[in-house]
């Protein structure tokens, strides 16, 4: 029996501290920067601010549960929406 993943595809779950992370790769800095802007908009909308680490061509996003708690549905939804923001660039 295959258990259905509890988080969006491409994200890795970390147990301690409870979080989801994903690395997004981009071809050049302007694309990285555009993604960061869209991600900031999503954070402002949802009130959920992930830890971010980025260089010119990649962004690591680490989503924690609301208020530092375990990864919850809100964090999973944020992860899914972050995926969509990254694919906007690729389209």
């Amino acid at each position: 029996m295959t258990a259905e993943p509890r988080w969006p595809e491409g994200w890795t779950e970390v147990e301690k501290p409870s979080s989801l992370y994903r690395r997004f790769e981009f071809a050049a800095y302007p694309e990285t920067r555009a993604f960061l802007d869209r991600l900031a908009g999503l954070s402002k909308e949802t009130g959920l601010y992930p830890d971010l680490s980025f260089t010119r061509t990649h962004v690591n996003v680490t989503v924690h549960g609301t208020g530092g708690a375990a990864v919850d549905a809100e964090a999973q939804e944020f992860a899914a929406r972050a995926d969509a923001l990254a694919t906007v660039e690729a389209a």
Partner: protein
């Protein structure tokens, strides 16, 4: 009860860091970060090998905006941006190793003979 939501006695809990190649993009990043949003520049560290890290604290949204602006500034100064990092809620245990504005080092850290 212990909390992992960071210190409450610092205005704004988020921590933003930009590591640059060279001092000029570091200063440029610090200038852009503090002009871009309401953050406090809490220090800069000479990491070694020409790398410089500048650190800011503030509200999460402000730190996010500041770091993005700082990264842009680095990009304008050649190949200055090495890495940028935002921790939305640093653990209270981390506070002790972070520079405070009054303690910002004036001399390079770890420089032999200094």
């Amino acid at each position: 009860m212990a909390t992992n939501n960071g210190s409450n006695d610092i205005p704004g809990i988020a921590l933003g860091m930009i590591e640059t190649r060279g001092l000029v993009p570091g200063i440029e990043a610090a200038d852009a970060m503090t002009k871009a949003s309401e953050v406090r520049l809490i220090g800069r560290q000479f990491v070694g090998g020409g790398y410089v890290t500048v650190l800011v604290r503030g509200e999460t949204g402000a730190v996010n905006a500041a770091v993005r602006a700082g990264a842009d500034a680095c990009e304008r100064v050649g190949d200055g941006l090495a890495a940028a990092h935002i921790i939305a809620r640093p653990h209270s245990e981390v506070e002790g190793i972070l520079p405070s504005p009054a303690e910002a080092p004036l001399e390079p850290v770890g420089t032999p003979g200094s």
